[in-house]
Symmetry: C2
Subunit: 217 residues, 2 copies
């Protein structure tokens, strides 16, 4: 037995490290399975610890673990939107979309289960976390557009486009990840420009932005 | 007491009529309040019957009543999409959108509560009902476009636009029903044309449709 490395259960981890390790195990399970197909035993096994240990850290059981994993995924997703405020606008949007779509690709099953709704683990808290990410995405787009006080039509246009991006992600997962990610990304960027141009017909703020984007090209 | 008309509770209704009456009372309550703010007592009171009578028709209580009301609302919503296959395409789309947006206007609170998710009454069954309406909407658009075998990009474009319409409805309710419905409707129709034109850059089917729409104008 001396040749065996100690199993992960016996590594000495700080409370914070142990918590992170459990969360990471949970997140990777919830990313690739529907929440109802993940048990606490699965999480314990994936983390190489006992079920009681999981309960010690997450006394609320699977629901608490799911929400914590979702919060951690939401943070990761927010980081996808981080993009320097430099250079032409559309390439910035492309780069942020590339990171977002890579996240969707990496968390496929969990992403679908979460956003398709009706899941057993869905609560007003999980909905609030998802809405927080949507709001963050809209805020990011607006700051990149350099609009300090966006009017109703501009805000609505951006929120609609973000919803369309979300829908595209779900359909893309549903369609065996077709078309290829770079085509999907370009398509979404072009849709952004197109819907902004429609809004520009009735909104001065959007009109100014469309001119700015055209000047970039 | 002889001058009083009999209360609704004592009207003789057939089983079917009684069921419809209870459903109608439930639907009008669920349309204007969040599901958690509607009790069986409220439904009984609105229908002018006793609580045990409501339970006799809906032994599953509020959840069963909510799902039955949702099914009935979904049928009503499907009827909004009925539109003769005659005349230019965009006015047909406008008329269907007018009816859809009137439905949203009339069922405001319930519509928001249902689609914002995380509600206590949300189950995989309610999600399936809502998805059924979305699929019906996409099918209607495709049959009006006269496309028998829509390719992936065209289907995706239409599903994304339908999601954007849904998002617009929710934002519109959230923004005290601004802009006015006719502006919102025109805006959504123009977005449809714009996103179809973006897809046309990489898809022959969409390209043919865009030419057809342009010929209509």
């Amino acid at each position: 037995m001396t040749s065996q490395a100690p199993t992960p259960a016996y590594r000495r981890l700080s409370v914070e490290e142990r918590r992170s390790q459990l969360l990471e195990a949970a997140l990777s399970l919830f990313a690739h399975r529907a929440p109802e197909d993940v048990s606490l035993d699965d999480v314990a096994e994936a983390a190489g610890v006992s079920r009681p240990l999981v309960y010690r850290y997450f006394p609320g059981g699977k629901q608490q673990l799911y929400e914590a994993a979702l919060r951690s995924a939401a943070d990761e997703l927010r980081h996808c939107f981080d993009e320097p405020h430099e250079g032409p606008l559309l390439p910035r949007l492309s780069r942020a979309l590339d990171r977002y779509l890579a996240f969707v690709d990496q968390h496929d099953t969990g992403f679908s289960a979460l956003l398709q709704g009706g899941s057993v683990v869905e609560t007003s808290r999980t909905t609030a976390i998802v809405d927080g990410v949507r709001r963050a995405a809209a805020e990011h787009v607006l700051t990149h557009l350099g609009v300090a006080e966006p009017g109703r039509r501009l805000r609505m246009t951006i929120r609609m486009w973000i919803t369309a991006v979300e829908a595209a992600s779900l359909i893309w997962l549903d369609e065996d990840k077709q078309p290829p990610l770079d085509e999907l990304r370009d398509w979404l960027v072009e849709q952004f420009v197109a819907v902004l141009a429609v809004t520009a017909r009735r909104d001065a703020q959007a009109d100014a932005l469309v001119r700015e984007l055209a000047a970039d090209l």
